[in-house]
């Protein structure tokens, strides 16, 4: 265990009574004394503070923004060149087979692209960019922590520390001053709630976290509630709901591929697996990621096989993420199901401990998103 990496907030987590677990090579808080259910509910009603410093923060820089954006568009099938300054966008790296290598957030920061990638993939992602991109430098930011402040109280809490936070809209990014720290703040997150992600110098991370936690409305939230919050919000977890064997159309992420990168767009294709992905966009695919609502109380977790009827033999899909949704008040799941069985309202059966239990294909998200658009 001693070879686990620590984030700059590690000692604070321990002080706050967190249960620490290994995650993507880091020692991370899975829950605090409030517990997963209490943390989840608190974040939906007030605000939660998450340590996401294990994620990769990367600066891609060229002669100008367009150089860096054009380079990244050779690896990522989204409109990066057309992203306005100080705006953020969701994207993903694709592979030659059309699969997804990792998902990420991109921001236009004037003279560079700021990229945030998953902890478990960051070494591979940075190697991939470094090897494939010409005329740009790829720099991992290792001296900054990343915090997330999420929930309906987030705006009030953060704007009390820097009033400019209130002027930001969903997917804006700005440099603010939070508790004396130069903070790169985006109005985004991974909970379905309004909120911010806040990058601050590592040595000031504890001061910033304490300043946020000092507000009565803010509780620290661990990885356990982070997972149930994102699942209720219908947000994908890389490695579960999408992976290198699933293309973006199958993963129901076509909304993230802007028209300009599709067939007949001004910058159509030009990314790994483009032929497969563009064909999938036109012709459709044989399977889709969907929301699934188990009818009983029993959670159906990752790996539960899905069938068309209570006694059919051929498996038609599987659960990719599942658990109890505290705000829904019952089990929720996402899964991959065969084409024609993916329409909302379709009843399927999951096999759990030898029994077939019904679940219904359900539109995502399970709870309405609460973004400030």
């Amino acid at each position: 265990m001693s070879d686990l990496l620590h984030t700059p907030l590690h000692d604070l987590h321990v002080e706050l009574g967190a249960k620490m677990v290994p995650f993507a090579g880091y020692s991370m808080p899975v829950q605090y004394p409030l517990g997963v259910m209490g943390e989840h509910t608190h974040c939906r009603i007030k605000a939660g503070l998450f340590d996401v410093s294990h994620m990769g923060q990367v600066i891609v820089k060229g002669a100008d923004y367009a150089t860096a954006a054009s380079a990244l568009e050779t690896l990522i099938p989204v409109d990066i060149l057309g992203l306005r300054e100080n705006r953020q966008r969701y994207g993903f790296f694709t592979n030659d087979a059309g699969g997804i290598m990792d998902d990420l957030m991109l921001a236009n920061r004037g003279d560079h692209v700021f990229v945030v990638v998953n902890a478990a993939c960051k070494i591979a992602d940075i190697a991939h960019m470094t090897a494939k991109l010409d005329a740009v430098t790829v720099t991992e930011i290792t001296d900054r922590a990343l915090l997330a402040l999420q929930g309906p109280s987030a705006e009030g809490v953060l704007s009390a520390l820097d009033p400019r936070a209130a002027d930001m809209r969903f997917m804006d990014i700005a440099t603010l001053s939070i508790a004396g720290a130069e903070a790169w703040v985006s109005r985004s997150g991974y909970t379905g709630e309004d909120g911010y992600e806040i990058s601050v110098p590592a040595e000031q991370a504890v001061d910033v976290a304490r300043a946020l936690l000092a507000h009565d409305d803010v509780e620290p939230i661990g990885l356990g509630a982070r997972d149930s919050l994102r699942l209720e919000a219908g947000l994908c977890l890389y490695g579960q709901d999408m992976d290198d064997g699933l293309n973006p159309v199958e993963a129901s992420l076509t909304w993230a591929i802007q028209k300009v990168r599709r067939t007949d767009g001004a910058r159509a294709g030009g990314f790994p697996g483009a032929d497969i992905i563009l064909k999938a966009l036109e012709k459709g695919v044989a399977r889709h990621r969907v929301g699934l609502k188990p009818e009983g109380r029993a959670p159906m977790r990752q790996g539960v096989p899905l069938f068309e009827t209570a006694d059919s033999e051929t498996q038609i899909g599987f659960v990719t993420s599942g658990g109890f949704g505290p705000s829904v008040g019952g089990p929720v799941a996402m899964g991959i199901v065969a084409d024609s069985l993916h329409k909302s309202g379709t009843v399927l059966y999951g096999e759990l401990r030898g029994k077939r239990l019904p679940l219904t294909v359900t539109p995502l998200p399970f709870i309405p998103a609460n973004f400030k658009r």
Binding site: V36, M37, R297, G323, R353
Partner: protein
């Protein structure tokens, strides 16, 4: 009250034994969100898996602590699984069993021995 190494408690109630899991166990499991209880009338054998518990973290099985027949289950727990967290040794009981060999309980831990186990 008697205790097993699987963190179950057993309490005699007339000629029946009431079974649940300890506060220590529910704290370790975290918030319990689903409990599947055995059927009334079922004959069970010691160490047979007869209850499924799901917490926000994972699923776990609870085994029959002794041989016998299930004579009652706690339906309130099925409707409100958090009872197991809130009142582990009271309202959060799982089932009542009519033991076929009460001597199976003789070697189980008493409270002092159990507290030592979890210390």
């Amino acid at each position: 009250m008697k205790y097993t190494e699987e963190h179950e408690w057993l309490r005699a109630e007339d000629d029946l034994i009431v079974v649940g899991i300890t506060e220590h166990a529910t704290t370790q499991l975290g918030d319990i969100v689903f409990v599947e209880l055995p059927e009334v009338g079922m004959t069970v054998v010691k160490d047979e898996e007869i209850v499924v518990i799901e917490s926000v973290k994972a699923a776990s099985d609870i085994m029959a602590p002794i041989d016998g027949e299930i004579v009652e289950v706690n339906d309130a727990l099925t409707d409100n699984p958090s009872l197991a967290n809130e009142d582990a040794i009271g309202g959060g009981w799982f089932f009542k069993i009519k033991p076929s060999d009460p001597s199976q309980m003789d070697n189980m831990m008493d409270e002092a021995a159990y507290n030592k186990l979890i210390a």
